[in-house]
């Protein structure tokens, strides 16, 4: 046998060690992120105008009747905190899916108009059609899919180029937001806080009615996306290489788009387009995990953490109560500027 047919055991061991090292770092990061999400979730149940000790909160969550806490924690804080987690996971998953698929951190669904399209449709359905519940979710998902198709179709010219898609998406996002503003301006009876839900995203006044559809969508669609994890990471190598590695590129893309758009639309119908969570979750996850393996799970956890913490900050840290989307927007906008400045410094295009 010649060299190259049988590798030397030392090299095999080195390869195995490097791989185990990467895997163990990844495991640790995921565990720490999950623990932080649990802590932030517990904190959002405990902290408020009246704060409750962990034991009371636990008893409420387990279904016991605790005077005072049962209403405040069980009816007000629990659905809000659950929706924060569900929406964060959904936005994180959907965002990193689009960024991976289009190989560009700017190509997140809240930048290219899909989230704002869903939001405009949800606001329209509520204000002009007087719909609620499932009908609103369905309207949002139809609109989000429609916007995704529209952006894709407008950007299509001998294949889809990332830059064109992003610029067209930014235009579509602006149109959707102006539509939302128009709808809200015609809804006289609405208060300003409610309007903010559809403009920047808000968890104020969350009930189980809003949370449950988003939770069910997450339970159905997240496994679909996670099953595509390895195929999605292979797409980062380019369609040709991925295909040469045995990935069914078109099938992966269609499944991923439908699942991601579904997650976004259900989450948006519940709490509005919480600004920049989709956009930030993936890059932050990539920074902490390193460029190894699928980013789906870490990005989902980062998304949940962002929404939980931003909601706590918005409610209690700033004196006035701000909706969660205002806080995430403050975080996201500088990063967007940073990305654009960096690509231009490097002499690249978007």
């Amino acid at each position: 046998m010649t060299a190259g047919l049988l590798p030397s055991p030392a090299v095999v061991d080195a390869v195995a060690q490097g791989r185990l090292h990467r895997a163990s770092r990844r495991r640790w990061v995921v565990l720490v992120l999950a623990a932080l999400v649990v802590v932030a979730f517990a904190a959002s149940l405990m902290i408020g105008r009246t704060s409750y000790p962990p034991l009371d909160v636990l008893r409420v969550v387990l279904g016991e009747d605790v005077p005072g806490a049962s209403f405040t924690v069980g009816r007000l804080r629990l659905p809000r905190a659950v929706l924060a987690v569900v929406a964060g996971l959904s936005f994180g998953l959907a965002g990193v899916t689009f960024q991976t698929m289009l190989r560009n951190p700017l190509a997140s669904p809240d930048v290219i108009g899909i989230t704002s399209g869903a939001s405009a449709a949800a606001a329209f359905a509520i204000v002009f059609l007087g719909w609620d519940g499932t009908a609103v979710s369905v309207t949002a998902i139809v609109a989000a899919l429609g916007i995704a198709l529209l952006v894709y179709a407008l950007a299509f010219k001998d294949g889809v180029a990332g830059t064109r898609l992003i610029l067209i998406g930014i235009g579509v996002a602006a149109m959707s937001r102006s539509l939302t503003s128009y709808v809200l301006s015609r809804a006289g009876a609405w208060d300003f806080a409610e309007a903010l839900r559809w403009l920047t995203g808000s968890l104020n006044g969350t009930s189980w009615d809003a949370t449950v559809p988003a939770l069910l969508a997450l339970l159905v669609l997240a496994p679909v996306l996670l099953a595509q994890g390895r195929q999605l990471s292979a797409l980062l190598l380019g369609d040709d290489t991925a295909s040469a590695l045995g990935v069914r590129v078109e099938r992966t893309r269609v499944l991923a788009i439908v699942a991601a758009v579904g997650l976004l639309a259900f989450a948006t119908a519940a709490c509005g387009p919480i600004a920049f969570v989709s956009f930030l979750a993936g890059p932050i996850a990539a920074r902490v995990v390193g460029p190894h393996g699928s980013l789906l799970v870490p990005a989902a956890l980062v998304g949940a953490l962002l929404v939980l913490v931003a909601d706590l900050v918005g409610q209690f840290a700033l004196g006035t109560r701000f909706p969660v989307g205002v806080v995430t927007g403050v975080l996201g906008a500088p990063y967007l500027l940073f990305l654009i400045v960096r690509t231009h410094r490097a002499g690249g295009s978007l």
């Binding site: 010649t2 060299a3 190259g4 047919l5 049988l6 590798p7 030397s8 090299v11 095999v12 080195a14 390869v15 195995a16 490097g18 791989r19 990467r22 190989r103 099953a227 390895r230 990471s233 292979a234 980062l236 190598l237 380019g238 040709d240 290489t241 295909s243 040469a244 590695l245 045995g246 990935v247 069914r248 990539a286 390193g290 460029p291 190894h292």
Partner: protein
């Protein structure tokens, strides 16, 4: 060790939109040998290679691997037999060499199967064969062009396919790196019997390294066979529209094409022992 996979294009027509790029083309890839495909720009050589690895569905005809159309084979099954290195593959930002080479194991892993000792061994073998072992923990974006190309070839090797298709593997490389890559592919062919099909734009490199040379012109095979028979002045004229002399390269004993431009036509005919 030789592989006996048969790969052939049969009455293949390929088109982008209305424009046919390859028309009614027949091509048999000799198993266990190195085949080089040459032709002018836009002669359809990359298109042909893409279709042979099923990236482009044929308009008519088919590409047959071991008696079955590649476009009907399950994706992973095909990817365990036939590998492709595209012309400009994309490395994810920050990815390390070992991780990138490991991506070559994709077709060998199921949805739930764990990474195995076989996978590690395949990656190690690919690193050793391409002399990239010392680069294993480096980020791919930091490497030089030649190193990067070796890493991509290592990824294709980790795929452990008996057939390997490469689209212009030497583009953007300086001459010493070109030789390094082509020597590496020759080693691979001689030691493992891997069937290699590559598109090359440098006619002389193709003639030097190929056992089987295929010249494309106008979407068809102009000529195919031993480079000594294929690379002639007539062939260069028909395929590239260029006047030339073809001499014997004293270092490789293979044909060497010397182009004749409007400013360089001084050497007397016959002085160089030409083949006509």
């Amino acid at each position: 060790m030789t592989t006996d996979h048969s790969l052939a294009a049969q009455a293949l027509t390929l088109a982008y939109g209305e424009r046919a790029v390859i028309e009614d083309l027949d091509l048999v890839v000799p198993p266990g040998r190195i085949t080089a495909i040459v032709g002018a720009n836009a002669s359809g050589k990359s298109t042909l290679l893409r279709s042979m690895s099923r990236l482009l569905p044929p308009r008519r005809g088919q590409v047959v691997l071991d008696g079955r159309s590649v476009h009907r084979l399950p994706a992973k099954e095909l990817a365990r037999t036939l590998g492709l290195l595209p012309q400009s593959p994309i490395a994810p930002e920050g990815i390390t060499v070992a991780d990138l080479v490991g991506r070559g194991r994709h077709p060998h892993q199921g949805m739930f199967s764990r990474w195995s000792r076989d996978d590690d061994a395949a990656v190690a073998a690919a690193l050793e064969a391409t002399s990239t072992t010392t680069l294993a923990d480096r980020a791919v974006d930091e490497l030089s062009g030649g190193q990067r190309q070796r890493v991509w070839i290592a990824m294709a090797l980790a795929q452990q396919t008996d057939l390997l298709l490469l689209d212009e593997p030497t583009t953007f490389l300086d001459v010493s790196h070109q030789i390094e890559v082509l020597d590496l592919l020759t080693d691979l062919n001689r030691t493992r019997g891997t069937t290699i099909v590559m598109v090359l734009h440098d006619l002389n490199m193709a003639a030097r390294y190929a056992d089987h040379l295929v010249a494309l012109a106008g979407g068809r095979v102009h000529s195919a066979g031993d480079p000594a028979d294929v690379l002639t002045q007539e062939c260069v004229r028909a395929v590239f529209g260029l006047e030339s002399r073809v001499v014997v390269d004293p270092t490789s004993d293979k044909p060497l094409m010397l182009p004749i431009g409007r400013h360089h036509m001084a050497a007397p005919a016959g002085a160089l022992g030409e083949r006509t």
